[in-house]
Symmetry: C2
Subunit: 115 residues, 2 copies
DNA sequence: CTGTATCCTTGGCGATACTG
DNA sequence: CAGTATCGCCAAGGATACAG
């Protein structure tokens, strides 16, 4: 039996198209919703959690961390007790809003048409 | 040791927001690219494959099948030999184009800004 | 309130070879 | 040309309990 050769993932897509670049940013689960609910004003962790039902805290934390790392949102801690944490869109985050809006528009159309 | 109770997945998200509805349509890998390259004219299987480098035929076929099932594109077979198959956007598919364009626009901005 | 810590599952994606 | 057939994988996502 021959040795199972471990596949080598593609190392570097020499150039990445804008579409792919952007989709990577808003690809993860819950990402578009987070941006959507932050589009007009900052919100706190628990507010976002109830804005977006069905997500577990672990997953949600991970998502927010990733978005922060991507420079899409920023996290501000109020040193109160109990602590309050406020998330808001960065400039980059705001640039994504039109795309989200376009998606929402189509979604509305679909819902209207299909119920 | 207590019996491991099998988790019960959420049965029915009582209502799905437009954002989620739409994101499910264009969520899969390569989906936005397919729509993008079909936006102005029909294209054939192999044309799309070379438009979108790096995708394997199996995955690509599955993707196209799913998009057809979703009513986003339609498939037309020319009974020639060798066969030629043409994919084109449906009306629903065309409705998605503005969203894709918005995403592409952001992606372009990002690329310009960051290289 | 805002998260970590554990543990688990799955299906989406990929490589490669082959076919009508 | 336009796909199937196999095989494989692992990371993203989730449930639940606990912590500062």
């Amino acid at each position: 039996m021959p040795i199972k050769r471990r596949k080598s993932k593609v190392v570097s897509p020499p150039e990445e198209c804008p579409l792919t670049v952007c989709m990577r940013l808003l690809g993860g689960a819950w990402t578009p919703n987070v941006i959507w609910y932050l589009r007009s004003e900052p919100r706190r962790f628990s507010e976002l959690m109830s804005d977006i039902p069905g997500v577990s805290p672990k997953v949600f934390t991970a998502r927010l961390k990733k978005l922060e790392a991507d420079g899409i949102l920023s996290r501000r801690v109020e040193p109160t007790s109990p602590p309050t944490v406020e998330y808001s869109l960065t400039d980059l985050g705001h640039e994504l809003v039109p795309a989200i809006e376009a998606i929402v528009n189509v979604g509305c159309k679909l819902k209207r048409r299909r119920g």
